[in-house]
Every structure is written in structure tokens, then in C-alpha cells.
Amino acid sequence: MIKIFKGIKGIYNLLIMNEEESLEQLKNAILEGNPNKAIEFVEKSIKIGIPVKEILNRAILKGAEEAGKLYEEDEYFLPDLLMTGDAINAATEILKNSLSGKSEIESKGIILIGTVEGDIHDIGKSLVVSILRGQGFEIVDLGSDVPPEEFLRKAKEINPNLIGLSGLMTMSISKMVETVNLLRSENIQSRIIVGGGILSKESCEMIGADDFAKDGWEGIKKIHNLIKI
């Protein structure tokens, strides 16, 4: 009896929930960083026939954008952004599965990213990967403690639009110099961004990167700009 009632209630909810409501709920789930709710509302949005692009742009990316704004206003902090990233990834995974081979989600670019050799810190990098992946970038994450040669090998293989080198330790700067030198000497043309709290305009110039970011959120914004150029 309870099961029948729940079933009827579910159909009723589906019927009365219009497009706007569904997208608003999904956006809120992203903003709250609630992956379960994000899955629930992305599935509902698909069921009521909202096109994937609309779901992505009007709910998922909008939620990410609002989370970023709250971060800049000191209302949100790294934990909130990471939870938002989880919700985005959960939602986009459902979207991708629903497409079954159709290419409705255009790639915004290919990014190769990793923490340089000798450094294992990856919190800022993980935020960048999580948010950008949800925003439609193809990310190849080499992980941490990545030797320069590995960056080169992968860059030759996938020809990324951008390469991101991350590092927290002051000693990572030398490794960034080495990595960028190797990539440029092998004629890798991708734009390069370096990320980490240790970096400055001066050290970025010394490294030979196109730009730098001191934290994950700044990195996300700068990567968008670098890929546009």
C-alpha cells in the first residue's frame, strides 16, 4: 500500500514540477554541495525532457558560478567549494550517461595537470580538477610527484590547450622551472599556468609560465581566461 502511494506521489511530483523548478532545485543542490540531491534533480530534469545543455548551463554551471561568487565574498570557503565540486561531478556523470554516445556536451578544452616532482600536495589541484571537469573541460590529472618527463610525454600524446603545474613547497619552484624548460625546449605550445601559495609574479616570470594562481579558485578563473585567449 505504502509502495503504491509512494509511486503515485512520485508521478504527481514529476508532473507538477516544471522546468524552472527542477533546474532551480538542481542549482541549489550544487550550491549546497549535496551530491545525492544533485543526482536526484538531474535525473528529474532529464525525465521531464529538459535538454542536457540547458541542465548544464542553467543549473550546474550557474550553481558553480554562484558558489564561486560566495567564495569571493568570504561566505564560502574551500570546504564548500570542494563539496560543490562533488555535486557538480555527480550531476555531470548522470548527464554524460544519459547521452549514451551523443556529443551534446562540447569540450571546452583539454587540460593536463599535475603536482610537480618532489611535492605531494594536491588539495588546490583537486579543487581545480573537480570544478573544471564539471564545467566541461577534459582534464588529464597526472596526480602528484610528477617528473618533468611525464608532463612532456603526456603533453605530446594529448596536445592539451593548457598545462597546469601545481606545488605547495617553496622547493617546488625549481622543479616548475625544470618542467617548463623541458616542455618549451621540446616545442610544446600549450599555455602553462603554475599554481601554489608560494608563487608570485616574479617567480612566475622566472619559471617562464604564462600565468600563476595562488589558490585553486584563482586558478579556475585564470584557466578560463587563458583558454579563451
Partner: protein, 359 residues
């Protein structure tokens, strides 16, 4: 050892306590394993293998840099603590060794799951070789230089090593679990302190590596919850003055000193010298160690003249009245030119003698 360390000891500790009997601004350097290896030509494993070798290498390095400070880089609740936890919990795969830089603990490997936190064993530091040798090294340095070694403790630095990225998510989805981990780390920090007392003796100060106190990492409320409250508890148990280190780019210095009674703050950000001038006005009894000399700027890419200008700016603005220690933050990177490091004591010699001549 070629240097008489007593003037440096007086310079550093009198400055921190606000004594007027200070001849010049002290120079405190963070020379980690990397710099010690670079200067002595030894590998990290060689350094760690014998307290005598390690102590001599440290003394040589700090003397070479003409610093007023001296410390054992591995006797710090950072990578060495990761190793201690890895060993106590049979997870040595989480540790990566390097030849010329400190070992690292792969973030999040030791406490991957809730069960890992529940079952986490607190290390017995008296049984861990690196800690044993580091403390014996600190004792030797105490004896050879008469420079009393300062103990360095931390909560969040260790949380990040053990739990990694998940710790930040735990703040929102499972704060009790995260507090349970902080509690265990607190217990471990107390074990370090007990061992320190036994081997090295009573430290003059506690140097807190308070990485939680950073806006780009968490709210101030969360930083107090996951680090601040534990520092207050340490203060109840360890009755010496505490100093706060934070090498992040958005530190909560002004906020935290209203909540916790630190005698000194150490950082390189904000870069705006006006922040530090105001900090000194607002908190005249708190010593400033560092201000805005950032190792990734003038130190790394500039010339000795650039470094001199930066030191001059810091001294002229912050040294009058005392309680200022010149210190590039944080650890001196491999590529920093030695001339740039040596430019600091030279600039201090030029501008840093008391009374400070403003013009």
C-alpha cells in the same frame, strides 16, 4: 662550530620578550633539509642517520648563513609526524623519501576511511628513529650552541597529511569524525612534548605551525574549531609562551591574536607593509617575525640590492620600539641565491642597529 652563539641567543629571545637590551635586529632563517643538504653536500638520509652528523651539519649551515637562529628542521610536526603515524599504523607505503629534501607523507593515505580514523594508533615518538635522532640532535645543538631549542607543534598540518582533501569535506559532512582525528593528533603532539621534555628539556617557547588560520583554506570559526581550541588546550598543559607561524597567503593573524595569547606571529603575508605597521600599533606586545619578506619574491628572483631594500623597508617600519625579527618566510627554496640570503644580515648590519635611524 666557529661562532659564539650567545649574542644571537640574547638578540632573539630578548626581542621576543620585548627587552630593550637588544643590540640589533635579529635574523631568523628557515633553513630546511634542502638548504642543509645544499650547503653541506649531504643527503637527507645521511643527516638523519646520526645526531652528531645532523647537529654539525645544522650548525654549519646556520653559521654559513650568518643567521641568529638555529633549529632542527625535522623536529617539527610536519613530515616527521606523518612518518611516525605511518610507522605506528603499518602504512609506510604512504611515505616518500627524497635525497635532498625532506620526506613526504602522501596526503590522505593514512586516514582514507572512517575506520582508519577510528583505529588510528597514536605514535610512540620514543620508538621512532627519526624522532629519536631529531630530539637528540636538538639536545646536542642546545649543548654546543647554548641556543635553547624551540618545540614546534601543529594540529592542522598533521590533519592534512593524514586525511588530505577529505578533511575539508569532513568539515561539512562529518565534523565529529574530523574532531576525533584532531583529538588523536592532539594526543600525539602531547607525546612529542613529553619526549622533548625528557630528551631536550623544557623549551623556551612553543612554535605553532598554525596552517588552519588561513582564509583561503577555511573560515575563522572552523580554524578555531579544528586548530585553535587545541592550541588553547596545549597552552593549559605547556606553560611557556607560544608563537604562531603561518606561511599562508591569507592569514587570520589579527583575528587569532584576539582569541589566543601569542607572544609572536610569523608570516610573510599580507604583502602590504601597512598591514604590519597597523598590526604593530594594535598589538605592541606581540613580536613580528617576518612581515612581508617572501621567499618567492626578492629572495628568489631579485638581486642582493632588492633584498636589501626589502629588509630596509621592514626594519625602518617595524623595528623601532623593538619586538621585530627579520625573517624571510617560509623555508628557503633550493634555487634561492646564497648572495640574497647573505644580503639580509648585511642589510641588518647597515640599518638594523638600535636605536634605529629612520633617515
Amino acid at each position: 662550530m666557529v661562532k659564539d652563539w650567545v649574542p644571537s641567543v640574547n638578540r632573539i629571545f630578548r626581542t621576543i620578550s620585548g627587552s630593550k637590551r637588544v643590540d640589533k635586529v635579529p635574523f631568523l632563517a628557515f633553513a630546511g633539509e634542502q638548504m642543509i643538504c645544499r650547503i653541506t653536500g649531504k643527503t637527507v638520509r645521511e643527516l638523519y642517520s646520526s645526531p652528531k652528523v645532523y647537529a654539525n651539519a645544522i650548525i654549519s649551515t646556520f653559521e654559513f648563513l650568518n643567521a641568529d637562529s638555529i633549529n632542527v628542521p625535522s623536529a617539527y610536526a610536519g613530515p616527521s609526524e606523518g612518518l611516525a603515524f605511518a610507522e605506528a599504523n603499518n602504512k609506510l607505503d604512504a611515505i616518500k623519501w627524497f635525497n635532498y629534501q625532506p620526506l613526504m607523507c602522501k596526503q590522505g593515505e593514512i586516514c582514507k576511511s572512517e575506520e582508519d580514523i577510528d583505529k588510528l594508533e597514536i605514535p610512540d615518538h620514543s620508538k621512532n628513529n627519526l624522532w629519536k635522532n631529531s630530539l637528540l640532535t636538538a639536545k646536542m645543538i642546545n649543548e654546543k650552541t647554548k641556543f635553547p631549542q624551540v618545540i614546534s607543534l601543529s594540529i592542522w598540518s598533521v590533519v592534512q597529511e593524514l586525511r588530505g582533501l577529505e578533511a575539508y569535506k569532513d568539515m561539512r559532512r562529518n565534523p565529529d569524525l574530523l574532531l576525533k582525528l584532531c583529538e588523536k593528533i592532539f594526543e600525539s603532539q602531547m607525546d612529542i612534548y613529553e619526549n622533548w621534555l625528557e630528551v631536550v628539556g623544557m623549551p623556551p617557547n612553543v612554535f605553532i605551525a598554525g596552517y588552519a588560520f588561513n582564509r583561503h583554506m577555511m573560515s575563522f570559526q572552523d580554524s578555531m574549531r579544528y586548530e585553535g581550541q587545541f592550541i588553547k588546550r596545549m597552552m593549559n598543559k605547556i606553560k611557556v609562551p607560544f608563537m604562531l607561524h603561518n606561511c599562508g597567503t591569507s592569514p587570520y593573524f589579527t583575528e587569532v591574536v584576539k582569541e589566543i595569547d601569542f607572544i609572536a606571529v610569523n608570516g610573510s603575508h599580507p604583502l602590504d607593509i601597512e598591514y604590519w605597521i597597523d598590526f604593530k600599533k594594535q598589538h605592541p606586545k606581540i613580536a613580528i617575525i617576518g612581515a612581508n619578506i617572501d621567499v618567492s619574491r626578492e629572495m628568489l628572483t631579485g638581486t642582493p640590492s632588492d633584498v636589501e631594500e626589502k629588509v630596509k623597508e621592514n626594519i625602518l617600519n617595524l623595528a623601532p620600539g623593538g619586538r621585530y625579527i627579520c625573517c624571510p618566510v617560509c623555508s628557503l627554496p633550493w634555487g634561492v641565491p646564497i648572495q640574497n640570503i647573505l644580503a639580509i644580515p648585511k642589510a641588518i648590519e647597515k640599518y638594523g642597529h638600535y636605536p634605529i635611524k629612520i633617515n
